[in-house]
Amino acid sequence: MDTRIIIFALLGGSLIGLSSGLLYLFNGRIAGISGMMSQLIFPRPQAQAAAFVVGVIAAGIAAAWLGMDIPKTLGLGVVALVLAGLLVGFGTRLSNGCTSGHGICGISRLSPRSFAAVATFMATGGLTVYVLRHVIGA
């Protein structure tokens, strides 16, 4: 693997972990993005979750400003986006978490639920890509 990729992966991951850890230590909240997004609508908008969400969106805006070397396109059609959105929205709500909530926070808390969740979505994620890429050839 390219050294740059490794360094940025570690650096980026550390920032994700740092912010998640500090959110829990200071605000007692789990940095689970799927939950925060759902909370914007039901039960009702929550100030802290909304603030965190705004912060993440702001990072996206800032990155474009700062001219950071980031992908310009998702490389996906509308159908794929809608299908993925439905599955991710449904699945994360049902399992009460995602890669940040279960993957980072849940594992950091040594939560058996989160270990199971992560193992499951990693498995189906890998299976899905396998089928799409190597069986269907999409």
Binding site: G13, S14, L25, G28, A63, R93, C105, S108, P112, R133
Partner: protein
């Protein structure tokens, strides 16, 4: 005052979180799918992202749990400990969606800032999906009384 501080802190931490997502490559769908593509040209970088994330976060979670309370707000979030069918089925479905687009919720928020029109179909569909899951949860929670004491067996 503390409430304002905790909200301001959430904003700043969200910014750092987003920056982390960008630097780590999680907003690059080809990298994510490359990570999930174990049979193809495997790109393992994302394993480092999660590893570094957990390694950095864990000390804070340990400290927080020892204190028993958060530094600014009172309660520490205590997610449920019991397993439920929704956890596994939901995770499986989320994983499929993740495999389709290489997008999980965090990067989606970053994309909302970067190119809202491009990510809009996903975001709208996300809320539709979440809505239906919420309905399903509500329906299962209000099962009739004679089933209330059954173990958590899913009826198809």
């Amino acid at each position: 005052m503390r409430a304002i501080l905790s909200i301001a802190l959430s904003l700043v931490l969200g910014l750092v979180f987003g920056l982390g997502l960008i630097l780590s490559g999680m907003t690059d769908t080809t990298k994510v799918i490359g990570f999930l593509d174990v049979a193809g040209k495997w790109q393992p970088a994302l394993a480092l992202v999660m590893g570094a994330g957990v390694a950095t976060a864990m000390p804070f979670f340990i400290i927080a749990r020892r204190r028993g309370r958060a530094l600014l707000t009172a309660e520490l979030a205590q997610p449920p400990k019991a397993f439920d069918k929704g956890l596994i089925i939901g995770s499986a479905i989320f994983g499929i969606g993740w495999g389709v687009a290489g997008l999980c919720p965090g990067p989606v928020l970053v994309w909302l800032g970067r190119d809202p029109l491009q990510i809009a179909p996903f975001v709208l569909a996300f809320f539709v999906g979440a809505f239906f899951a919420q309905k399903l949860i509500a329906v299962r929670a209000s099962k009739p009384l004679d089933q209330a004491h059954e173990p958590n067996i899913q009826k198809a």
